[in-house]
């Protein structure tokens, strides 16, 4: 299920493909080195923070890949 170039996602991908790599890196670093240890410490708020960060990552994957299936796989992991 590939999303065509002519629509909004195709435009976003063309424009933000490279900066999205930096955003995804920052989000993954935040999830692994901030959210995971704080969750392990028992701070419940960071469960929600983790979910929001994961949703942002999923959106980034959707734009970067242009494929709903790739985003769905990430969705399956987090949800």
């Amino acid at each position: 299920m590939t999303i065509g170039q002519g629509n909004l996602l195709g435009t976003l991908r063309e424009r933000y493909s490279d900066p999205l790599l930096t955003v995804l890196t920052a989000l993954l670093l935040f999830l692994m080195f901030v959210v995971a240890p704080l969750q392990a410490s028992g701070i419940v708020v960071f469960q929600a923070v983790g979910v929001f960060a994961a949703l942002a990552m999923m959106t980034g994957v959707l734009i970067l890949s242009g494929s709903a299936i790739a985003a769905l796989r990430c969705w399956l992991r987090f949800q």
Partner: protein, 150 residues
């Protein structure tokens, strides 16, 4: 997958099956994200700063993939790792990520140790990836970015 695990947790006590599901989810995430990011990083065109950061993201995803593999090995082979408690709780992800990065960067603090030969082999593989990836692919991408400035 995680919703399924939460439902299982609500129905009864945590089990090894929950951890298998979580590990499978980590593996799916790292492979999918790795494929998407890899395609963007190694696509034709000028190598930019963002692509270098994307290559770093791939390095992090290697560690994430090995988190899942360590979990599978630890679940299938009892006492494969000394010091790593494979229980379905909040500390598991943090410990597994910590061990994976300690191995990938070949720091080796020694608080968590692979004992079983398969676990040791997996750790060796991760350490080799952790050494070779920055020295070859990452260095090549940085070189291309620097060359494109001139």
């Amino acid at each position: 997958m995680n919703v399924f695990v939460i439902i299982l947790r609500l129905r009864g006590t945590p089990s090894a099956f929950d951890l298998h599901m979580v590990a499978a989810a980590w593996l799916v995430l790292s492979i999918t994200l790795g494929a998407v990011v890899g395609r963007a990083v190694f696509a034709p065109g000028a190598v930019t700063y963002h692509r270098i950061v994307g290559a770093v993201l791939l390095y992090l995803l290697i560690a994430l993939g090995f988190v899942a593999l360590f979990a599978f090995v630890g679940l299938l082979i009892p006492k494969a790792f000394s010091g790593l408690v494979l229980e379905d709780n909040a500390t598991f992800a943090s410990s597994a990520i910590y061990f994976s990065f300690v191995t990938l960067t070949t720091v080796g603090y020694g608080d968590i140790v692979p004992v079983h030969p398969i676990a040791r082999s997996l750790c060796n593989l991760e350490a080799i990836c952790g050494q070779l990836y920055p020295a070859t692919l990452l260095a090549r991408i940085v070189t291309l970015e620097v060359a494109s400035r001139h």
